[in-house]
């Protein structure tokens, strides 16, 4: 059975070539069903009720946390639900970051998504610390050779994308962790683009924080996870205040609940969490070696074909080592919006623009790129359509 057929939106529109999963993936029927089941048979608020629905909702919500923990090889207390990657990183920028002081240093890279840049700039401005930036190689990778020069005794945190949302390059986290260890710094990984492409043992990475979003991994919008090493989370103060995250409240003194509850103020996105749990369960049942092989074959085919398009420049590794199927390119001087618009005429959904990575665009002297993302449901026909569309775009604009 084609994987594609398990996605209602894709199944309903055979002419749609969805190559925009890097922005938001599509969602399988299993996940939609889990969400609908909650809304029509279990809906209630969680944690605070004893009636049947509240019990069912709590069991489904906390069951989702278990499912996610299992999928990522983590413990349930390490899975903090957030509204997405951005909120997860902002949480760390406050709960971890606000303990930093002038003189301390935070290291990011030139290829980060704005969500892994702006929170650190805001922290820098709040606390007067220093923000240092690892450069990017011509190939579109974080230049880990620069770690030695950039990481110092004053480094408190290194925050990097596991996989670039523009170049598809996957960073060698072992080297980052080693550098951080020697400096006594913590490591935060922005895993938004890594998690859709298969299971991962997060604790094994040796990092301290790992953030990702549900909407890029076949789950609803508005839900994401901050994974944090248990001892780290236990040492952190809360970020937002409100219901559920407290142990007791008086006007003089409020004491906070243990993680993960401490970081989940207010009524959570219950259906979103249940959807993310369902997506982890669904992903667990897939043949990942087969899918990864197919994703890589398609990525290789796409890179090979793009290399033959006159005037086209790929932004990112041309080989398949240490990269995922996130493929960006510039078509001569054609603007990515115009290119994406023509592709749309061919039924191809691609993203065009700076992909919330303006500093990287600056680095390569581009206003933006067109980006195609290979997902488990991608097929050769999607690439055929993309190449046809590019032909027309080239005729029109180049």
């Amino acid at each position: 059975m084609r994987l594609r057929d398990r996605f209602p939106l894709l199944a309903a529109d055979p002419k749609l070539h969805y190559l925009d999963s890097g922005a938001s993936s599509q969602v399988p029927a299993d996940v939609l069903d889990a969400v609908t089941r909650f809304e029509t048979t279990q809906r209630a608020n969680v944690h605070r009720g004893v009636h049947r629905l509240a019990e069912a909702a709590t069991a489904a919500y906390e069951g989702a946390r278990d499912e996610i923990a299992r999928f990522f090889g983590a413990r349930r207390e390490e899975i903090v639900f957030t509204s997405g990657t951005t909120a997860a990183i902002n949480l760390v920028a406050h709960s971890f970051g606000d303990a930093l002081a002038a003189g301390d240093e935070v290291v990011i890279s030139e290829l980060e998504h704005h969500s892994n840049i702006v929170p650190w700039q805001m922290l820098r401005d709040r606390r007067g610390l220093k923000l240092k930036v690892l450069p990017v190689t011509e190939e579109g990778r974080i230049d880990l050779g620069a770690l030695d020069g950039v990481v110092t005794r004053k480094t408190r945190l290194i925050a990097l994308a596991h996989c670039s949302n523009v170049t598809g390059a996957v960073v060698d986290l072992a080297r980052v962790v080693a550098a951080a260890k020697s400096a006594g710094a913590a490591v935060l990984v922005d895993g938004a683009q890594r998690v859709p492409h298969g299971p991962l043992d997060i604790p094994e990475l040796g990092v301290d924080f790992y953030a990702f979003s549900g909407h890029k991994m076949y789950a609803p919008h508005g839900i994401g996870v901050l994974w944090g090493k248990r001892e780290r989370l236990e040492a952190l103060p809360p970020f937002m205040g409100g219901g559920d995250m407290i142990r007791s409240v008086t006007f003089e003194r409020t004491t906070y609940a243990p993680p993960p509850t401490r970081f989940e103020a207010g009524t959570p996105n219950i259906s979103g969490a249940i959807g993310l749990g369902a997506s982890c369960r669904w992903m667990s049942g897939l043949d990942w070696p087969g899918i990864v092989q197919e994703e890589m074959r398609l990525t290789g085919r796409l890179l090979g074909s793009l290399a033959k398009v006159p005037g086209l420049r790929v932004l990112g590794p041309l080989g398949l080592q240490q990269r995922l199927g996130v493929v960006s390119f510039a078509l001569g001087s054609a603007h990515p919006h115009d290119v994406a618009q023509i592709l749309d005429r061919h039924g191809v959904a691609c993203r065009g623009g700076h992909h919330c990575a303006e500093p990287l665009m600056e680095r390569f002297g581009l206003a933006g790129t067109t980006r195609a993302t290979i997902a488990p449901y991608s097929e050769d026909a999607d690439i055929d359509a993309l190449l046809n569309g590019l032909d027309e775009a080239r005729r029109l604009f180049a």
């Binding site: 605070r48 004893v50 509240a54 019990e55 142990r247 007791s248």
Partner: protein, 135 residues
């Protein structure tokens, strides 16, 4: 299911829980809150070496919590740290649907299927474990 939660034995245990009140003077005094429901347990212990010589409990909580405190009142005197751990493990057993070793815990068997009420039962035992941490 709910129907069997409040069996006579449990209601009686809650109402007539032995060793209610405060114990003064004491060697250890512990207060634990359940933030979700506002249940509160106060436990005062007098020790004799590693063992509990006497105790008293004060509960502001539901019937399940009161009955659980009743079990503590009935069974904790004479226990050392390992004994307390064994009793607490037995409670975990009954809440996960298994048969308990200690017969008195059978009244809590129906709670197993009510996850939201587990904490009500656990609170007095958590307070008990907490109070033995020093020892």
């Amino acid at each position: 299911m709910s129907d069997s939660l409040y069996q006579d034995a449990l209601l009686k245990l809650a109402r007539e829980a032995p060793r209610q009140g405060r114990l003064e003077p004491n060697d250890v005094s512990v207060r634990l809150d359940n933030p979700l429901c506002g249940d509160r347990v106060r436990l005062d212990l007098r020790m004799s070496g590693p063992k509990i010589a006497e105790l008293a409990h004060e509960v502001r909580g539901c019937v399940l919590c009161q009955a659980a405190a009743g079990i503590v009142g009935l069974h904790a005197v004479g226990l050392d740290r390992a004994g307390v751990a064994a009793l607490a493990a037995d409670v975990d057993r009954v809440l996960s649907g298994q048969d308990p070793v200690c017969d008195a815990l059978r009244s809590f068997a129906p709670v197993a299927s009510h996850r939201s009420r587990h904490d009500c039962v656990l609170l007095p035992f958590q307070a008990l474990k907490e109070s033995m941490k020093g020892g």
